[in-house]
């Protein structure tokens, strides 16, 4: 072999550093965003955790009290009932939210005529702020002059006091919450459905699988990762929902819709007990994180048997 030719073929130091630079660019571009998120979120979370271990007066002077705030909260019956209420709210919201999202996603998947229009339309609720959604639901469910009761009246029925009855108010809150979070979950599931090769459905059809059976045995397992992601979304929104409840019922009637997030707001900003409020923040964070990990484990990473190939 010709030595000079060989030398000239090797990479120069300059070329090597250019190569390295090219690979480093994406990371460099991510850094500002990463710092921003860490700064805002990290500071809030760390600060909240510190606050939860302190007693704070109205001048924000802190006294370290260890787990005192935690113990006080856990023994508070108001907290206990709001915890159970929140769990019920989350479980029902997930059930309703995921089944609605799945139904919408399947429908949109099969829509042929006006496909783009309907897909766009279905996203609209997501662009409406929580407060606005709540106000809308108030209009719909207000006892006198509300849309639902107006309809009931035209049929000669007297509508109930939707937001005045504890059970009904709780139900309407779940509906409003679902209305807000379903579009995005639908979008995720629709994306999942679109990754499945259509031939697979035809193969299943030839194999004699009925529609429902195909859904259970083929579709669901194949969109498992997207199902996991939309579960994370739906659970997170339901655990943390605050604006919708505040504007719709403000936790009432009585405490019928006082979820942990609403309770947290009241304790921290109305009763000005930042320590106990922070305890609730830490709890919400822990719930959300643990639940997300569970979903990731079972839906996204849990099943390594296959790669979903588009």
């Amino acid at each position: 072999m010709n030595a000079t030719l060989h030398d000239s073929e090797a990479m120069t130091a300059r070329e090597r550093s250019a190569e390295f630079g090219k690979r480093a660019v994406p990371y460099l571009l991510v850094i500002p965003g990463l710092l921003f998120v860490l700064g805002v979120l990290g500071y809030a979370v760390a600060g909240g955790f510190v606050l939860s271990l302190n007693e704070t007066d109205m001048f924000l002077n802190k006294t370290f009290v260890g787990l005192k705030n935690y113990i006080a909260i856990f023994h508070n019956p108001r907290f206990q009932s709001s915890l159970w209420r929140t769990l019920a709210f989350v479980v029902l919201s997930i059930g309703l939210g995921i089944s609605m999202s799945m139904m919408f996603a399947l429908t949109l998947y099969h829509v042929g005529f006006g496909r783009r229009f309907f897909r766009g339309l279905s996203l609209v609720p997501y662009f409406v702020s929580g407060i606005a959604a709540a106000v809308m639901f108030r209009f719909i469910f207000t006892t006198s002059g509300g849309f639902v009761n107006y309809i009931l009246t035209t049929f000669g029925m007297e509508g109930p006091s939707w937001l005045g009855n504890p059970v009904l108010a709780f139900t309407v809150s779940i509906l409003a919450n679902a209305w807000f979070m379903v579009p995005f979950a639908t979008l995720i599931l629709l994306g999942g459905l679109q990754t499945v090769d259509k031939d697979i459905y035809e193969a299943a059809k030839l194999d004699g699988s009925s529609g429902l059976h195909t859904f259970r045995r083929i579709t669901l397992p194949l969109i498992k990762p997207m199902m996991g992601v939309s579960l994370i979304w739906v659970s997170y929104i339901s655990f943390s929902t605050f604006d919708i409840i505040l504007a719709l019922t403000a936790g009432g009637p009585g405490r019928a819709t006082e979820l942990i997030s609403v309770y947290m707001y009241q304790i921290a900003f109305l009763e000005l007990d930042f320590g106990q409020g922070s305890v609730l923040m830490v709890m919400l964070l822990t719930f959300n994180t643990l639940l997300s990990l569970v979903y990731l484990r079972f839906f996204v990473y849990g099943d390594r048997r296959y790669k979903v190939v588009s």
């Binding site: 031939d199 697979i200 299943a204 059809k205 030839l206 194999d207 004699g208 048997r305 296959y306 790669k307």
Partner: protein, 358 residues
């Protein structure tokens, strides 16, 4: 002759205002290996999907085993299909992929076991049964797709371009495997491809389709030797047949083709053609010999493609590019002057207006 397994009568298919199949007539005998071949968009896949029951029938009838099946659901037609994309269930093992249809049919466990084992044996899948599709090579996935069809013991196998996703070497191997499998099992097969080599090598009956119509059907060599139209002549064979337009003229030695630019193409003396007729002169590349002396058509070599066993040559003859196949090693280089001698007995003549064989 027994009654055909599949009969298509006046079969038409429209997507909206667009008719893609214009009245297909076809009868497929028991045990036959039928290949539907044609360029993309000719309707061959649509036709297959209609037979499968995956596409509705606009008009006409599909008869299977003497029974009109136009409205019979796909699963009840006694067919199995192998897809181009294989369409394996990615979240199921090979075994589960094979057993899915049997589960649907509520096949008893021992029968199921037996069928899976037998299919796995035939297709060399024994060692792969517990693997997932993502862990298999393209060829292995192809086999699983065939296995999935096999376990159903269908009356009719449908293949939709099953080899298109494989590399060239594997494609040739699988081609032979599918043909061997058919010779062994004798199951009636309809196979769709755009690859004329697959059509020629595998079929008992080749159906050449073009623009939603059957252009010609028959045994492969019959189509190769006596193409009914210019389209079939051009489509079958690689490199393709040389097709030169010209007019029939008289000479002392009998009729010839005047192709303009002082290019005169010889015909065999007995050719019954009407002088003055506009024709397309067709001659396969292997029926042009490179002459030793000056006798023949004067040509200039423009491209040489050594393919090992044979050499493909492109030559310029009176302004026309002509393809020649020689089984000899040639030392020709572009620019060389050669003489080409046509085998006049093998000349195909087509009406230049209708494209039909004369």
């Amino acid at each position: 002759m027994s009654t055909p397994l599949v009969e298509l009568h006046e079969l038409r298919k429209s997507f909206g205002p667009l008719e893609v199949l214009h009245g297909i007539e076809l009868a497929i005998e028991q045990h036959a290996f039928v290949v539907l071949v044609g360029p993309s968009g000719c309707g061959k896949s649509t036709l297959l999907r209609m037979i499968a029951g995956l596409e509705s029938v606009t008009s006409g009838t599909i008869v299977m085993d003497g029974r009109v099946v136009n409205r019979v659901p796909a699963k009840d037609r006694g067919i199995a299909m192998v897809f181009q994309s294989y369409a394996l269930y990615p979240h199921m093992t090979v075994r589960e992929n094979l057993s899915f249809s049997l589960e649907m049919a509520k096949t008893p466990r021992d029968v199921k076991q037996e069928r899976i084992e037998s299919a796995a044996g035939i297709l060399y899948l024994d060692a792969l049964l517990e693997r997932f599709p993502a862990q298999l090579s393209g060829g292995q996935r192809q086999r699983v797709a065939m296995g999935r069809a096999l376990v159903r013991e269908p009356e009719l196998f449908l293949f939709d371009e099953p080899l298109s996703n494989l590399d060239a070497k594997l494609r040739v191997e699988m081609r032979a495997e599918i043909k061997a499998l058919h010779q062994r099992l004798r199951s009636t097969t309809i196979y769709v491809t755009h690859d004329q080599v697959e059509a020629m090598t595998m079929a008992d009956l080749v159906v050449v389709m073009n623009d939603g119509r059957i252009e010609q059907l028959g045994p492969p060599l019959e189509l190769y030797d006596r193409p009914a139209t210019v389209f079939v002549a051009d489509f079958l064979g690689s490199p393709a047949m040389n097709l030169i337009a010209g007019t029939v003229a008289e000479s002392e030695a009998g009729p010839v083709i005047d192709a303009g630019d002082d290019l005169t193409l010889p015909l065999s003396p007995g050719s019954a053609v009407r002088p003055g007729a506009e024709v397309v002169y067709g001659l396969r590349p292997e029926h042009l010999r490179i002459g030793d002396g000056p006798a023949g058509l004067a040509a200039t070599v423009s491209l040489v493609e050594p393919a090992g066993f044979e050499t493909h040559l492109h030559a310029d003859v009176g302004g026309q590019v002509v393809r020649v196949i020689s089984t000899e090693r040639l030392d020709a280089v572009p620019g060389d002057s050669i003489a080409l001698v046509p085998d006049t007995a093998r000349v195909h003549l087509f009406d230049s207006r209708t494209g039909a064989r004369l």
